[in-house]
């Protein structure tokens, strides 16, 4: 962008000339041409806001016209709101004295990456998964067709690990990265009960538990795998049910 020449007096409107003169008085000699437009826009917006506020104050005080006091009040309120200035010096000296009295904390050795507690970091996931509160009837003898809906609850580097939604053998490893602590979470995975009739060679894995996830407790690097267990045993109602659960699954939160 080229350094600006000042707007030529012949073509610029009066306001722009005034603004150019102000810039010159303040010692600013080089500026892009759109600076004048930005300054004019700011000035116009500011004055309009102040005058509108002053009108409100004036009508509140049941005055017939806006006078200087109203404008002064409007300016003061706006300044406190939009144009805050840094704290005054004695306040800073005071808090500095307080802060500087505490000795420097000792550094624990061998503590890995030294970061503040998790709630002050930006490492938590910034989305929540809808929790599934499904009761699973664990009647044996039904052919279960598990479907996996996998949600990855991890934020750091790991992309979600998708367990392959295979039909039969689901070796779901609720694998969570080693460094993560699962303290305070109930995190269990539903695994389909074994298929009867020798469909697969997988041994029976009778662990059937409810998946109860409290999303707010999920910490970093957790991999959440939920399985949607739909026993397809009962013929007709089940496909419908499954569909219902389908919709349920993809319902927006």
């Amino acid at each position: 962008m080229e350094a600006a020449k000042m707007a030529s007096p012949k073509s610029a409107p009066k306001d722009a000339q005034v603004m150019a003169q102000i810039l010159k008085d303040m010692g600013i000699t080089e500026y892009e041409p759109r600076v004048i437009n930005q300054m004019l826009e700011f000035a116009y917006r500011y004055v309009t806001t102040i005058l509108e506020d002053a009108k409100i104050y004036s009508s509140h005080a049941k005055k017939s016209s806006v006078d200087a006091d109203d404008v002064r009040l409007a300016i003061q309120c706006r300044t406190d709101q939009s144009f805050t200035s840094p704290p005054p010096r004695d306040f800073l000296l005071d808090i500095a004295r307080q802060k500087n009295q505490t000795p420097l904390p000792l550094i624990k050795p061998y503590s890995g990456p030294r970061l503040p507690p998790d709630r002050y970091c930006l490492t938590a996931p910034n989305y929540r998964l809808k929790s599934l509160q499904k009761k699973v009837s664990s009647t044996a003898g039904r052919i279960t067709v598990p479907r996996l809906s996998v949600g990855a609850v991890s934020s750091r580097p790991s992309t979600p690990t998708l367990g392959t939604p295979s039909g039969q053998a689901v070796s779901v490893s609720a694998k969570v990265g080693a460094p993560v602590s699962l303290a305070g979470q109930r995190f269990t995975v539903q695994i389909p009960s074994s298929q009867p009739a020798g469909k697969s060679a997988t041994p029976t894995t009778p662990t059937v538990q409810n998946v109860l996830i409290n999303p707010s407790l999920i910490g970093p690097k957790n991999i959440l795998i939920t399985t949607n267990m739909v026993p397809p045993g009962a013929a007709d109602p089940n496909p419908l049910k499954r569909k219902h659960e389908d919709d349920d699954d993809y319902d927006a939160l």
Binding site: P86, L92, I107
Partner: protein, 711 residues
């Protein structure tokens, strides 16, 4: 206190409040007119007097309004604030001259009273000032230079006084008449002042408020001071004397008055010079001892001695990485003065690499100048606002006005992020190259862009172990990024205003940031609040640097001073004045003894930290100096500036032959030799790229960075 009591008694008597006077006198057990000594320091008791003065029920007519009110509207004052007399004014109606209210037979009390009558008569301010001007101009040559220092602070304080008391027209004419007399280096301040015409303008301007409440320091020799005092006290109007007492701190020294040249070198800051006691504290400027550890004598492939495959005898060689002497350097801080992180294995490997590179380092000197390699940022459209390079020169980061932070790899090795957690569990943790295996090849690229800030990024800093990157921005936060995952880890909120600079400590873990709120803060990566707050500057902190031993922090500010702070207790141990513009670059010498600073006035100033003195001035640049760096062994100082040049200066010569005899250290006088030309070793011009960053590699190759600007 006694003086004020006497003053109040006089006041009551003059107001014909005989009964109140009697009661007060009885209570104070004063008999007769006890007028006591000299002009009192009225400061501390003024709130009390304000209360008492409100007691005599408004003798409305003669005394106008007992305008004690204004004190409440002021900014909250700390308890220890020495300046409080403006806070209680007894406004006299009409044009009664404050000092001249002096009841003729009681001059001392009138002086006390006039202290409460600060505004005096606005129309007479011009007279006072020109009277003083005349006196100073007629004084002896040797005293004139020193007394001329009074002009600027007096001018500003009188002007601000007029503005504060809402005498707009008088203020304007006062300004018109005298602003041309001031020194040229104060012109920027005067321009700001000229726009402050109403009391409301002052409220938002913290710098001006600080200026009003802090004392401007002047160093004057005893002879000149006596002269001044005699002149001001023999005149009946003590207005100027009051202002001098209230707003100026005169540091008197015994000795020869200084010449104009000496004075010009040291003045220029917003708070005058530094008091001599400010620079007397002991500073541990030595370096910390490097830990010793075994360095395996490893294969020197290039040597090629054992190419035949003969088994090399690998004898572990005990190598003193640190100093050879067993004695503790008296100027070095104790190892455990501040807690520092312990060395990890990767750090030890780093140190070994460092040593090996150091062995191959080029020794620089006037005959052997470094080669300069310039990294130009193209297509930045004037948006490049910060640059940093890692210590081993492998990565370069740029902070931009569009709030992005971009990291490039400068070596052929690309930037990779670590694999995901699932993949990580699959690798063999015991293998030798596990550090390579954790990296995900799919994410290899030369450039990584980090998004997160919501304002231009004004400062960036790599951690010494190259695992973290800091960036600070106009949005008031400092962000910590991981260079292994290239994501943001923490946002440190504390400054609520733009943060202008940040830097990691040379040992990692701590970092410092400085911003628009006039303070610098010390943080540790694992605390979400700052550990130390360094408050004291009058204007924005624009530049922050750690000392090589990590025990001190230097901050340069827009109030044109540099302060050195102790990390242990947050005290300011040094104040360096002399620059005539905001400071934008700081560099510590590798041996920790000296500090080089660059500002918008185009000069590089050199300071001896131990003695607290200016030891050199390097003139040559014509525009702001944004980059300063000492070579690895401290032989060469490189400076880069907005005038598109890089200049190399002979640091060894600049620091030798320091005359630091007792007289110099006692009075703080310096006689700077005019040797800038001798010290300049070379000027290297870029076509039209201002230099934003300088970095000496471990082998003393100079890297420079800047953004190409087409105008």
């Amino acid at each position: 206190d006694r003086q004020t009591l006497v003053a109040v008694l006089q006041f009551l008597r003059r107001s014909n409040l005989r009964e109140s006077e009697e009661i007060l006198r009885r209570e104070a057990r004063l008999l007769g007119d006890d007028l006591g000594g000299n002009v009192a320091t009225v400061a501390t008791s003024s709130p009390g007097v304000a209360a008492v003065a409100a007691v005599p029920p408004g003798k409305g007519e003669a005394r106008g309004d007992c305008g004690v009110g204004p004190s409440s509207g002021r900014e909250p004052r700390g308890v220890g604030s020495p300046v409080s007399s403006p806070s209680s004014k007894i406004t006299h109606s009409g044009d009664v001259i404050g000092g001249a209210v002096a009841v003729e037979d009681q001059p001392d009390v009138s002086a006390v009273l006039s202290a409460y009558n600060q505004q005096g008569d606005p129309t007479l301010y011009e007279e006072y000032y020109s009277g003083l001007k005349h006196f100073i101009e007629c004084s002896l040559d040797c005293h004139r230079a020193e007394l001329s220092q009074l002009f600027y602070p007096l001018f500003v304080h009188m002007y601000l006084e007029l503005v504060y008391n809402q005498h707009e027209s008088e203020a304007k004419s006062f300004f018109e008449r005298f602003h041309g007399d001031q020194e040229c280096y104060y012109q920027d301040d005067l321009r700001v002042l000229s726009s402050l015409t109403k009391k409301e303008h002052m409220k938002g301007n913290e710098t001006m408020l600080d200026f009003r409440t802090s004392k401007f320091v002047l160093r004057i020799s005893r002879d000149s001071y006596q002269l001044l005092k005699r002149h001001l006290q023999e005149k009946q109007n003590n207005q100027i004397w009051n202002i001098v007492q209230e707003h100026l701190y005169i540091d008197i020294f015994d000795g020869m008055p200084r010449s104009k040249q000496q004075i010009d070198a040291m003045v220029g800051s917003l708070a005058g010079e530094a008091k001599r006691e400010a620079n007397k504290a002991k500073v541990f400027f030595g370096l910390l001892k490097e830990p010793e550890f075994d360095v395996p004598l490893d294969d020197e492939d290039e040597e090629g001695e054992n190419e035949e495959g003969k088994p090399k005898k690998k004898k572990p060689k005990k190598d003193n990485v640190g100093s050879k002497s067993k004695k503790q350097d008296p100027n070095a801080p104790p190892q455990n003065r501040i807690p520092l992180p312990e060395l990890k294995d990767s750090d030890k490997l780093d140190k070994v690499m460092n040593m090996k590179e150091a062995a191959r380092r080029v020794r620089l000197g006037p005959e052997c100048l470094p080669s300069i390699c310039f990294y130009t940022f193209l297509n930045a459209y004037q948006g490049l606002t910060a640059v940093d390079i890692t210590d081993d020169s492998s990565m370069i980061v740029g902070g931009f006005a569009d709030s992005t932070v971009r990291v490039w790899s400068v070596t052929p090795k690309k930037l990779r992020s670590v694999k995901t957690a699932a993949d990580l569990s699959l690798i063999d943790k015991e293998s030798d190259d596990v550090l390579e295996r954790i990296m995900d090849e799919k994410t290899a690229s030369e450039l990584k862009i980090l998004y997160g800030h919501s304002g231009p990024v004004y400062g960036t800093s790599f951690s010494p172990d190259r695992n973290y990157l800091l960036s600070c921005s106009e949005d008031g936060t400092v962000r910590l990024w991981s260079l292994q995952t290239f994501t943001c880890l923490v946002g440190y909120k504390g400054h609520n205003y733009p943060v202008w600079d940040t830097q990691f400590s040379p040992y990692g873990y701590y970092f410092v940031s400085g911003g628009h709120d006039r303070v610098a803060r010390l943080w540790a990566t694992d605390h979400y609040q700052p550990l130390r707050i360094f408050a004291g500057h009058l204007a924005d902190v624009t530049c922050t640097r750690f000392h090589p031993n990590s025990n001190y922090i230097a901050t340069g500010s827009a109030d044109r001073t540099i302060r050195l702070w102790d990390v242990l207790n947050g005290n300011c141990v040094r104040i360096f004045t002399g620059h005539k513009g905001p400071i934008h670059s700081l560099a510590f010498s590798p041996n920790g003894r000296f500090l080089a600073t660059g500002a918008t006035d185009g000069r590089v100033l050199l300071w001896d930290i131990g003695h607290g003195l200016m030891v050199g001035e390097l003139k040559g640049h014509t525009d702001t100096i944004y980059a300063l760096r000492f070579s690895r062994d401290g032989e060469i100082l490189a400076s880069g500036s907005m005038d598109n040049t890089v200049r190399l200066w002979d640091a060894v010569k600049a620091f030798e032959d320091l005359e630091t005899d007792d007289f110099t250290t006692a009075t703080g006088h310096i006689n700077l030799p005019e040797n800038s030309q001798d010290l300049l070793l070379g000027t290297y011009m870029t076509k039209s790229t201002p230099v934003v960053h300088l970095h000496f590699t471990r082998r003393n190759l100079l890297l420079a960075a800047g953004a190409y600007s087409s105008q």
